[in-house]
Structures are given as structure tokens and as C-alpha cells.
């Protein structure tokens, strides 16, 4: 393995160990947050239950199929909330307070450092909850997903995480100029929430936006289709291509943004 890779693996391990030491400092908090997470997870099912109480199919999606999208959405959200958002919220704060100084002074890639600074291990409860939803959905469907489809879905999961992460980096890059991005990250959260619905629910402009601009379709609907064995090769290629394009764009934006860092004066 190349030494650079090993070095960053070692850094990641150190960052993870610090994050878990931090989490374990407040053990009661850890459990409490876990319980709250499960409660919220149950609550996110309500809109779906309400809609399907009236009809058996929405935009061509049956209740269990829509549940697969929802389960996938919850899975992705748990990874996002546990592994991506905490760090990147810290960057936004660090840009405002000047705490980013110490990150930029370290002889390691700054984007890597800011992206791995914080984890919220208790999000594991959300992750388990999302898996429960997925298992329940497939029981309702009456069959298990094919192993090949599960493998493909995992690839798409990695791409979806990359996509979300890249969009977050774009938001963070913007904060070097505008400094206060509370609204931007709020917008991000609200938009992401739309990912709980299959893309076919949206029509016209919204559908275009959610496929190409803020590619929710690539993150939740397409992977769900993969699990259901319905994704075409073209759509899969679109997901991977989109993921790579967003990653490159985010990297460029980040590199450009650092030059605009003004550092809060002391």
C-alpha cells in the first residue's frame, strides 16, 4: 500500500479514537441520544403511513417499495449525521471563529482533517433503525434482495455518501466568503429531507433539480431501485459519474476557498 494511504489511515484511526473517547465521556448522553434517534426514526415513517392509508400505490411505487426508499434514506442520513455533518458543522464554526487556523497549520491535507474531525458514534442507533425498516420492507415484499443487487447497492451507497459529502464541502467552501452559512446548511437539511420520497413523486422542474442539481434521486431512489432489482445500467452509470463529478467540483471549490480564508482576528 502506498505510504500516503497508510499515513491517512493512521490519521483517521487517531481521529476516530479521539471522537469515541469524547463520546464515551458523556455515556448517559450517548444512550439518551440513541433513544431519541429511534423515536425520530419512528416519526419519519408517519407521512408515509398517512399517504398509503388512502391508496395502494403512489407514482407507481407500492407501500413496501416506498419503504425501501425510506429505509435507504434513513441509512444514508445516519451515515451523514454520524460521519459527515458533525465535522463540517465544525468547519463552518471554525471559519467564523478562526479556529480553522490550527487545521491549516498542520502538515496534512486540510480537507481531510476538517472532514474527519468529529464523529457521532451514537448515530449507530439510527443505522440499526434504518436496517430494521429495510428488513421489514422486504418481508412485506415477500422476498429478499438478490446478493448481486445488495452488492451493487453498497457501491451506490458509497457513491451517495461521496455525493452528499461533496455537496457539504461546496456549502462549506461558500462559507469562506459569506461566513454565516446557517441558512445554507438549513436549506441543505431541508432539501435532503425530500430524499425520503421516490423521485417519481416529483414532477417537472423539481424532478430535474433533484436528479441533476441536488441529486437526491441518485442518492436514494436509484439505490433503492438497485435493491429491488429494477435499476438499469445507464442509471447506475449516471450515479457513479455524478458522484465523481461532484467530488471533483467540491475539491476544486475547497482549494479555491482556502485562499480566501480571512481568519478571525485575535
Amino acid at each position: 500500500m502506498p505510504p500516503v494511504f497508510l499515513r491517512y489511515a493512521r490519521l483517521l484511526r487517531t481521529q476516530l479514537s479521539i471522537a469515541s473517547t469524547l463520546a464515551m465521556q458523556y455515556r448517559f448522553d450517548f444512550v439518551l441520544k440513541g433513544v431519541m434517534a429511534l423515536f425520530w426514526m419512528a416519526l419519519t415513517m408517519v407521512p408515509l403511513l398517512v399517504v398509503y392509508a388512502q391508496r395502494t400505490s403512489v407514482a407507481g411505487w407500492t407501500y413496501p417499495e416506498a419503504l425501501v426508499v425510506l429505509g435507504w434514506f434513513a441509512l444514508l442520513k445516519s451515515i451523514l449525521d454520524g460521519g459527515v455533518t458533525p465535522s463540517l458543522n465544525m468547519v463552518v464554526e471554525g471559519i467564523r471563529t478562526g479556529a480553522l487556523d490550527f487545521v491549516l497549520l498542520k502538515p496534512a491535507d486540510a480537507q481531510f482533517l476538517v472532514s474527519t474531525a468529529r464523529f457521532e458514534p451514537w448515530r449507530i442507533f439510527d443505522l440499526i433503525g434504518s436496517l430494521v425498516i429495510l428488513v421489514y420492507a422486504f418481508r412485506r415484499l415477500g422476498h429478499a434482495p438478490a446478493p448481486a443487487h445488495v452488492a451493487a447497492a453498497f457501491v451506490l451507497l458509497a457513491v451517495a455518501v461521496l455525493l452528499l459529502y461533496s455537496i457539504w464541502i461546496l456549502v462549506v467552501s461558500a462559507s469562506f466568503w459569506v461566513v454565516r452559512v446557517d441558512n445554507l446548511s438549513y436549506l441543505f437539511g431541508s432539501l435532503f429531507d425530500a430524499g425520503r420520497w421516490p423521485i417519481d413523486v416529483f414532477k417537472g422542474a423539481l424532478r430535474f433539480v433533484f436528479t441533476f442539481v441536488f441529486p437526491l434521486a441518485l442518492m436514494t431512489t436509484y439505490p433503492a431501485l438497485t435493491l429491488l432489482g429494477k435499476l438499469t445500467f445507464g442509471s447506475a452509470a449516471l450515479v457513479v459519474g455524478g458522484g465523481l463529478a461532484f467530488t471533483a467540483l467540491a475539491r476544486l471549490a475547497w482549494r479555491g476557498a482556502i485562499g480566501f480564508y480571512t481568519s478571525a482576528s485575535s
Binding site: 490519521l11 487517531t14 479521539i18 469524547l22 487556523d101 498542520k106 502538515p107 482533517l113 480571512t262 481568519s263
Partner: protein
């Protein structure tokens, strides 16, 4: 509007230099440019052979920046965790890191602190732990921005001594800003003074004091209040109380004035010093202001 304008200076390796100026002069901005945090809009900066803004890993391993008002220690965890993180970040072999940590901890006497959560440490204790985090990688260039701010006198003296020891032991270059003139007087043979982003003095501290305030300061403690007649005869009386008089005297006249004072006053103690650095700086900035805005 430029924060810095036409600022130029060279610092040789191993020098300790004080970087002075009133609030908003551009001291911190300069340190941040030198350490690669801020990108200058124009001009050229070289530190230890590197262009700071490129943030090359080899450059970042050569320098450190300590900011008295910001901290890198993880708030909820003991300093030891930050040290472990920095060891990984700077790629320091474990043996080397342990040895250096051991000697830094001993020098600063913080053995019992590094395993306590940072949030439980006092400001002074935190600064000592902060210095260890900043020096664990053995930097050759130290940018210190108000490293003693908010600390009590004893702690300031302790940190000062530590910085001097580090400089001497490692031949490290030190560029220091401080509001406490004692820091500068004790540590820096050379000072660079800037105001509103412009260089107004670069040279020996002694020379600056001599140029701005060539007079010596004579302080005489007396056992009985001085006679008003005697007081009237004394040259350049700066201040006086019943038990202390302070005179400002040109160097060639010091001997004569001391002799006279001892003869005419009930002196119990007498010191001859340079005028306080604060006063020198105040006068330097005032004269610079006048030059910039001719009446």
C-alpha cells in the same frame, strides 16, 4: 485599503525579534501571512526557504504559531490526546515524540496536568500545555502572538524563560508580539515596530530606547520628604512623593546629578535605569503619527 503596506524585513536564523505596534497595526496579520494562513494580495514572503501560502508539509513542520487568544487543545479531553493527535499529524516517530514530550513537560513542570481535561485547567496551565502542543514537532521557527496574555507576572516570567531556553537549545528563530513590554525587553535584542501596516523601526531595542529617550531615569527613595528648595534645584523632576523622587537626566550628567542628590537628600536607595519601554513606544508612535499627518 491594505492591512500591510511596503513592509519589508529579514530575520536571520536563531534570532529573537520583538514585533511591536499599537492595536490594529498589522502584527497578527503579518504573523498569519508568515505562517501561511493568509495569502498576501501582493509582495513576496519567504520563511526558511519556503513560500508560506503554498503550505508545503515540509514548511508546516518547520514552523509553529502560538496564539495567546486561541487554542488548539481539545477542550473536553486531556492535553495528552492533542499531543497524540499532533504526533500522528507531524509524523513524529514515537520514541522521538516521547523524548521531546518528556523534556517539554519537565521544563514547564506540567507532569500532573497533561492527563486532566483541558477545561479543568487554569489559563496559565493551559498556555503551558498549549506551548507543548505547539513545540512537539520541534519547529525551527516560532511565531508567538501574545503568548503571555492574561497570565500573572510569575507565569509570564516562566513562559519567557522557557522561550529563551528553547531558542538557545534549538537555535530556533523567534518572532514575538506582546502587549507586555517586559516580554520584549527580556527576550528580544532586536525589535521591529509597525504602525498601520508601515514599518517605523527595525533595529536594536537599546538603540531605539536611546534614540527616542536618550535620558536615563534616576529613582531615589528617601527617608524624609525632600525640602521644596532642593526639589526646585533638581533637574527634570518626573514625579515625586514623600518617599520617592524620579528624575530624567541626560547620560553625561548622571554622575553629577547622583552626587548632588546624595549630598542634598536623605537617600536610602538609588537606581539608574532606561526609561520604561511603554513610554518609549508611546513617544515613537506619537512622533510617527505627527510625521504622517503634517500640520
Amino acid at each position: 485599503m491594505h492591512a500591510l503596506d511596503g513592509l519589508a524585513f529579514d530575520i536571520a536564523a536563531g534570532q529573537r525579534v520583538g514585533f511591536l505596534g499599537p492595536n490594529g497595526a498589522g502584527k497578527t496579520t503579518t504573523l498569519k501571512i508568515l505562517s501561511g494562513l493568509l495569502h498576501p494580495s501582493s509582495g513576496e514572503v519567504t520563511v526558511a526557504g519556503f513560500r508560506p501560502q503554498a503550505r508545503a508539509p515540509a514548511f508546516l513542520k518547520t514552523i509553529t504559531l502560538v496564539m495567546g487568544q486561541k487554542q488548539q487543545l481539545l477542550w473536553d479531553l486531556p492535553p495528552a490526546e492533542t499531543y497524540a493527535m499532533n504526533r500522528a499529524l507531524y509524523d513524529i516517530p514515537r520514541k522521538e515524540a516521547d523524548a521531546r514530550l518528556g523534556s517539554l513537560v519537565e521544563l514547564l513542570d506540567i507532569g500532573d496536568l497533561i492527563n486532566k481535561p483541558t477545561r479543568q485547567l487554569s489559563l496559565g496551565e493551559r498556555m503551558k500545555c498549549e506551548l507543548v502542543a505547539a513545540l512537539l514537532h520541534g519547529p525551527k521557527v516560532l511565531f508567538l502572538d501574545e503568548p503571555t496574555i492574561g497570565l500573572d507576572i510569575a507565569m509570564q516570567a516562566r513562559i519567557r524563560q522557557f522561550i529563551r531556553d528553547y531558542n538557545e537549545a534549538h537555535g530556533a528563530t523567534v518572532l514575538l508580539t506582546s502587549h507586555y513590554m517586559e516580554d520584549v525587553a527580556a527576550l528580544c535584542p532586536r525589535v521591529i515596530v509597525i504602525d498601520k501596516g508601515h514599518l517605523i523601526y527595525d533595529g536594536e531595542l537599546k538603540e531605539l530606547v536611546h534614540r527616542i529617550r536618550p535620558d536615563k531615569r534616576i529613582t531615589i527613595r528617601v527617608s524624609t520628604p525632600a525640602d521644596p528648595e532642593v526639589l526646585a534645584r533638581l533637574p527634570n523632576l518626573v514625579s515625586h512623593t514623600d518617599n520617592q523622587l524620579v528624575l530624567s537626566v541626560p547620560l553625561p550628567r548622571v554622575n553629577e546629578v547622583v552626587r548632588d542628590a546624595l549630598a542634598s537628600l536623605a537617600a536610602i536607595d538609588l537606581t539608574v535605569e532606561d526609561p520604561p519601554l511603554e513610554e518609549v513606544m508611546r513617544e515613537l508612535f506619537a512622533s510617527h503619527q505627527q510625521k504622517r499627518q503634517p500640520a
